[in-house]
Symmetry: C2
Subunit: 163 residues, 2 copies
DNA sequence: GCCATATACTTCAGTAGTGAGATACTTGAC
DNA sequence: GTCAAGTATCTCACTACTGAAGTATATGGC
């Protein structure tokens, strides 16, 4: 006597949200795979690349600022900047206003590296997105911006533990 | 003498694709954070949950089928099914047609667990997506479906190594 | 000034994977 | 039947983190 597969929810709000979750996750994974391929071939992980890219486009940043921008843990940002520092792409600098804090900034070697590979990366992203025309991409940006902003603003789901 | 921050690309196809990449990644991360919170409180990782959910809605599946569905490596699916098997939520079963292959299927305990937590998870997703109305969600599904399908179909980017 | 609390970063043990190679079996050509 | 090539799973060394606790400094109330 085997257990029957359960049907998926059919009420429209839940069914639609679940479908959106699936296509959002899969499309993000598919695009990220292209982005990653364009970067690992240069000996960087996608997260290391994200740090170099942030410093390249914003200039020196406090470690905490970088951490929030690339969405890693506090331990993660120390670990990642250590790795990039050992390879000579990034260095730490003191912050005069707050002696707890440290800036991360590109070395000339790091700047040269990211200046060389960023255009390749940008082209890989453009190509990965080419399934959608420019107008559709703008439409998607508007929808996802709203979706993301509201999801980030939403507190944790009301739990059954708290009455 | 410091290095100036570099400007972002401004040609519309590249600039738009990069923006879309950012909002796609951030919105996916924001939604996934809600999905994950609804699942870790039950002692499962999101990937373990995905396996139980797949078996719950599709019935027994070959390990390779589950692997492709949840997008993990070959080593990953063995590791994950091992963990779920040790906790008594899943068991392996022989495949009569192909003696290399193994089915994964829910135990009664696993079925009871996923039947209990899936509705909570579905509700968390519905809530996380509530920044968008139903019509906008459908629009987003259509756009992301196209985007993901085309990105998956795209081969690796032409490398500078191959002429 | 002194203290409690908050913040910025680091350390470190642990976790959830990846990916290459190994094993076992299947399939089709001959 | 036999073999080569292909496929399904497993093993294992390795990696990229996470998150909690620790250290150093900052900030505001008194």
């Amino acid at each position: 006597m085997s257990i029957e597969p359960a049907p998926l929810p059919t009420d429209p709000p839940t069914a639609t949200a679940l479908k959106l979750f699936v296509v959002l996750s899969r499309s993000q994974a598919a695009i990220a795979a292209h982005a990653e391929a364009s970067v690992v071939s240069h000996g960087l992980t996608i997260t290391e690349f994200a740090i170099l890219e942030a410093l390249y486009h914003k200039g020196p940043m406090l470690l905490g600022e970088v951490q929030r921008k690339i969405l890693v843990s506090s331990g993660g940002i120390t670990f990642l900047v250590d790795k990039l520092e050992k390879r000579g792409f990034v260095r730490r600098a003191l912050c005069e206003r707050d002696r707890r804090a440290r800036y991360a900034e590109l070395t000339p070697e790091g700047h040269a590296l990211i200046a060389r590979i960023f255009p390749v990366h940008a082209e890989a992203i453009r190509r990965a997105m080419s399934g959608l025309g420019l107008a559709d991409q703008r439409e998607a940006i508007a929808l996802l911006r709203t979706l993301g902003r509201e999801a980030e603003a939403l507190g944790p789901a009301p739990s059954s533990i708290e009455g």
